[in-house]
């Protein structure tokens, strides 16, 4: 848009602007520039979100009310027919069970593991960056790659894990044939990729806890465990809530790892590890090719995720607050927003006395 050049530069004489009375076009352009540019700058996000985010979300509901196939396109209106049909399927419930099981197995161990690991890293250790990079390494590996690697490690016959188990005298496990075992294996993949990441988020938040709190706790005779439970965990509350909620949103949509847990990608012979998102894929792009039903399941999962997200928020808030309600009275306002900058720089943005916008900047041309 704006091709205005700094007026001092004589390099753009193409459009002569007589400085006669009234506003010149250039001045007018300057005002427009100042007034409307902000909207122009933020518009890419809102336009794109409208097209690939908001519209599809609403349209999913519309599709779910119709017969709608991958090839044939839109058919007749069936109301909630797709929903009732899907709910009557065993596979839907199996998928839901598997998704929740995997989500709980990975979410709980990941959060607890990351908390402990962050506490270990939060000490005054040598070569800090090296260890931090070490825990983050798996994050750069694609979930599909992780899935393929672990599916081999967790092979039922002649797999690495089973051989090691037998080596120490334990029975081998049917990692693919057994329902719960397959969930454990997939949760392990998820944890492999994410635990280090979450650890660093927790670590950043831990470093922001004022040292005085620990000193006070020490004077009160609190040991290290007690300090961790009574100072660290309550102070991390917003961060824990944030991590749990993002883990919920991501975890309930899990697809990549279970998709490649075997080469067929159906979630096992009796759908031991088929997740809801895999079911959506199968309904829409598998044998049925029913976009209507796939959309119906998408909407159900969407509502579930919102529900579980809210539930988790309330739950973590209660648990993490626990006994130390008095120590912290910060309002839980904007749990998602306020906690994102768990650590240093953006956190400083909210706490440090940022030079607040001077009142002169009121959308009017300063000249």
């Amino acid at each position: 848009m704006s091709t205005t050049v700094a007026p001092r530069r004589p390099a753009a004489p193409a459009a002569p602007t007589p400085p006669s009375g009234g506003l010149t076009w250039r001045q007018r352009l300057g005002i427009w520039d100042f007034r409307y540019s902000p909207y122009l700058y933020i518009s890419p996000f809102f336009v794109l979100f409208g097209i690939v985010g908001l519209f599809p979300l609403v349209y999913t509901f519309w599709v779910s009310l119709h017969e709608w196939s991958l090839i044939g396109g839109k058919g007749e209106f069936v109301g909630l027919g797709n929903y009732t049909q899907v709910i009557a399927q065993d596979n839907f419930w199996v998928g839901l069970r598997n998704t929740f099981s995997i989500f709980l197995l990975s979410g709980v161990t990941q959060t607890l593991g990351a908390l402990l690991l962050a506490a270990v890293l939060n000490q005054n250790i040598r070569a800090k960056t090296f260890w931090r990079m070490g825990v983050l390494l798996p994050f750069v590996v694609a979930p599909v790659a992780v899935g393929v690697i672990f599916s081999k490690m967790f092979a039922d016959q002649a797999g690495l894990i089973n051989t090691l188990l037998e080596g120490v005298g334990l029975p081998s496990v049917g990692w693919h044939s057994d329902v719960l075992a397959s969930h454990v294996a997939i949760a392990t993949m998820v944890n492999f990729r994410w635990t280090g990441y979450v650890t660093l988020i927790f670590l950043a938040a831990m470093q922001a806890i004022p040292k005085e709190l620990y000193e006070a706790a020490m004077i009160d005779g609190a040991g290290r465990v007690r300090q961790f439970l009574s100072v660290t965990v309550p102070m991390l509350r917003p961060t824990i809530i944030f991590v749990v909620i993002t883990a919920t949103i991501g975890g309930l949509q899990i697809f990549d790892e279970p998709r490649v847990f075997d080469q067929a990608g159906q979630g096992g012979s009796s759908r031991q590890w088929m997740t809801v998102t895999m079911y959506i894929y199968e309904l829409g792009w598998g044998a049925q090719q029913s976009f209507g039903r796939a959309a119906a399941v998408s909407w159900i999962l969407f509502l579930i995720i919102i529900g579980v997200g809210v539930l988790n928020y309330l739950l973590t808030r209660r648990i993490a607050t626990g006994e130390t309600t008095r120590t912290r009275t910060t309002p839980a306002a904007a749990p998602l927003v306020g906690t994102v900058p768990a650590g240093t720089a953006p956190a400083a943005a909210t706490t440090a006395p940022v030079s607040d916008p001077p009142p002169t900047r009121t959308g009017k041309d300063p000249s």
């Binding site: 979300l57 825990v135 393929v148 909407w299 927003v337 959308g363």
Partner: protein, 304 residues
Amino acid sequence: MSTDPMVVGTAGTKAGKAAARARARRRRSATSNRPGWLTYAIMAVVLMLSAYPLYYSFLLGSSDAVSIAQTPVPSLIPEGNFLENATRVISSDIKFWPALLNSIIAATVTAASVVFFATLAGFAFSKLRFRGRGPLLVFLIATMAIPTQLSVVPLFILMAELGWTGRLEAVIVPGMVTAFGVFWMTQYLESALPYELIEAGRVDGCSMLRTFWHIVMPAARPAAAMLGLFTFIGSWTAFFWPFIVLGSANPTLPVSIQLLQASYFKDYSLILAGVTIAAAPLIILFLFAGRQLVAGVMQGAVKG
């Protein structure tokens, strides 16, 4: 420096010396409160757990089907078949070179585009005044909580209408600007970009776009680099949507890994050689930029 200038300035030299002494004491205790061997042992185990599966992939990728079947726990010294397996991967029908090219293009374009548009919007949200700024920002942040993966059906219909199924645009365009990116840049510019600089630009007669280009962009560079890095990784590792919309005809690397696994499931030396090749670029990137990634996560990067 032996005295604390802050303290000296406010309370005289004596207090400064006392502060210096206190600092020295703290430094001494800083070395004495180093944790014991147990901490390092734990960290070493964790490091092994995060590195071994990748090494395992390389080990099996350097092996062959027979030896994999015979020794479930591979020797830590790789066998010499990696190049041979890699050649087989490349010449197999998973379209290795197109997939690699697709991944490079998609990740690069997406990262560049996200950085540009997010910085632009972040500039507006953090430093410019306009009606509706607050509510729009709240709306933007709220969209991050929407599980967008669930709108694949209409998104696919849309792409089919556009004739983009099987084409790279379908993967690139929906990710060209993200709510997280905008939020991230807003947060950063809020604190890193002084108003004085923008004012100076305006006094000199810069247009908004010139201000953005010559003042905001340079100031945003550290955060922009991190955002670019994370976006690149996110795009490189994405599977669900490329899998649906591209399919096997015109895959990205993760899609072709899945193809590899589906078609050569009897020979894991081949599959894991492919996995290793596909993972290698980001692991190498990590060796150089890992420090920045750690800093980025700790400054509040959000999950995918």
